[in-house]
Structure formats: C-alpha cells, structure tokens
Amino acid sequence: MNEEKFVVPAATFTEKPDEYELKVQIPGVGKEDAELHIDGKTLTLKTHAKYQNPAGFREVASEFERTNYAISADLPEMADPKTLTAKLENGVLAVTVKKRPETQAKKIDIL
C-alpha cells in the first residue's frame, strides 16, 4: 500500500457573536475529494488530492505540488456540533457552527 503524505492546510478561526467560523485553504480539492468528520467535539478534515499535471507536458517550473491535506480541531465548549455546516467553494472550506443559545452574547438595553 502506498503511504500517503498529509499537509496541514492554512486555516483561520473566527469568533462571531453567535457563531464560530473555520476557514481552511485547500486549493485543488473538490467536494468529492474531501472528508469531514465530527466525533464528539473533534472535527477532522482529510482530503485526497485531485490536482494533476497536464498529461503529456513537461514540467518547467514547480512551486506547488499535488497535496493531501489533513487537519483536526476541537470545537469550543460553547459550540453546538448539531448546527455545524460546511461549504467548499473555490478551494476554501468554510465550516460554521452556532454557539449554544444560552451562551450567545446578548445586547442589553440601557434604560
């Protein structure tokens, strides 16, 4: 069996008043090549590279290569894993998860 090599992709994690957003850069990966799992509060992403050098061409410059990505992260305590959504667009995977209602920030009116 071939041994597969995985690279940790560039990722940003943002906290918003009512949700968290994780953005992962996985250029060259299509929807069908990405596996996203949640186990308890642990989120795991694994992708299998699809990017191919054009057939019959010789490579004259190579600054990036076909890459398998893998990353794993624990959701914050306040996140509700049931509300998790994921969208892959233009090589960026955006995962959002809502905060549990009782933990969301509330604006308090000053009387």
Binding site: G28, V60, A61, N90, G91
Partner: protein, 134 residues
C-alpha cells in the same frame, strides 16, 4: 576595536526595505510574507500551461494580461462602492516569460477549486520559406 565607520553593516539593507516607498521591494516582501501565489509551468511542443494557486479567488479577483513575450497574472485590488480603484497597486503579480509567440485568440483560463489554469497555445509558425536565388 574601532571600526572605521560606526554603523551596523546591515542597517542600510533595513533602510532600503523600510524606506523605499516604491515597488522595488514589494515583491520580495510579498514573497517573504507568503502572499505570493505559487505557480507551476508546463510545456509541450504546441502549448504552455500555467497553473497558479489562488484559494478563495474567482475570475473577478484576478487580472490576466497577455503581453508579446510574457503572461502577467496580478491581484485585482478590491473595488470600493463599485468603482475601480485604479490607483491601488496590486498586492502581488507574477510574470511568466513565454518561450514562443502565443495565439491570443485560442488562449484560455479557467478556475477549478482555487487553482487557475491558463492554456497558451503556440501561434502558427511563420513557416519555412525557400528563397530562390535569382
């Protein structure tokens, strides 16, 4: 030990990097900051293919220019209020020299999963012509 000129030998380099307001070191800094998108270039007898990694970008975000001897891929500065911000310099650009003349009409570029593939077919050869000696 006294030095002839009392200065940090590398400070001039820092000054250059910090004070040159123009474009001279922009690309160097962009590369250092990892903001320079990587490219792959492929060749065969009839075409050149350039792949450039631009996760999250679409055709709206990139300027592609075919020059006589090079193809230039540059970031398109985000337009504010729908107006083109022509004065803003692109954050990065990559210039790839062409080894042959390109048939501009047949050149095409397509985004797929955050990688832009540019196909540049070779222009028809000028043809070998025999010249009669009078």
């Amino acid at each position: 030990m006294n030095t002839l000129i009392n200065m940090d030998p590398w400070s001039f380099l820092d000054d250059m990097l910090n004070n040159v307001g123009g474009n001279v070191f922009r690309s160097m800094r962009a590369r250092a900051a990892g903001r320079f998108p990587p490219v792959n270039v492929f060749l065969d007898d009839n075409a050149m293919i350039v792949d450039i990694q631009l996760p999250g970008k679409t055709s709206k975000d990139v300027d592609l220019t075919l020059e006589a001897q090079a193809v230039v891929i540059a970031d398109k500065p985000a337009a504010e209020d729908g107006k083109e911000t022509a004065k803003t310099a692109p954050a990065w650009s990559r210039r790839i020299d062409l080894p042959f003349r390109v048939n501009a009409e047949k050149a095409n570029a397509k985004f797929e999963n955050g990688i832009l593939r540019i196909e540049l077919p070779k222009a028809e050869a000028d043809g070998v012509r025999k010249i009669a000696i009078a």
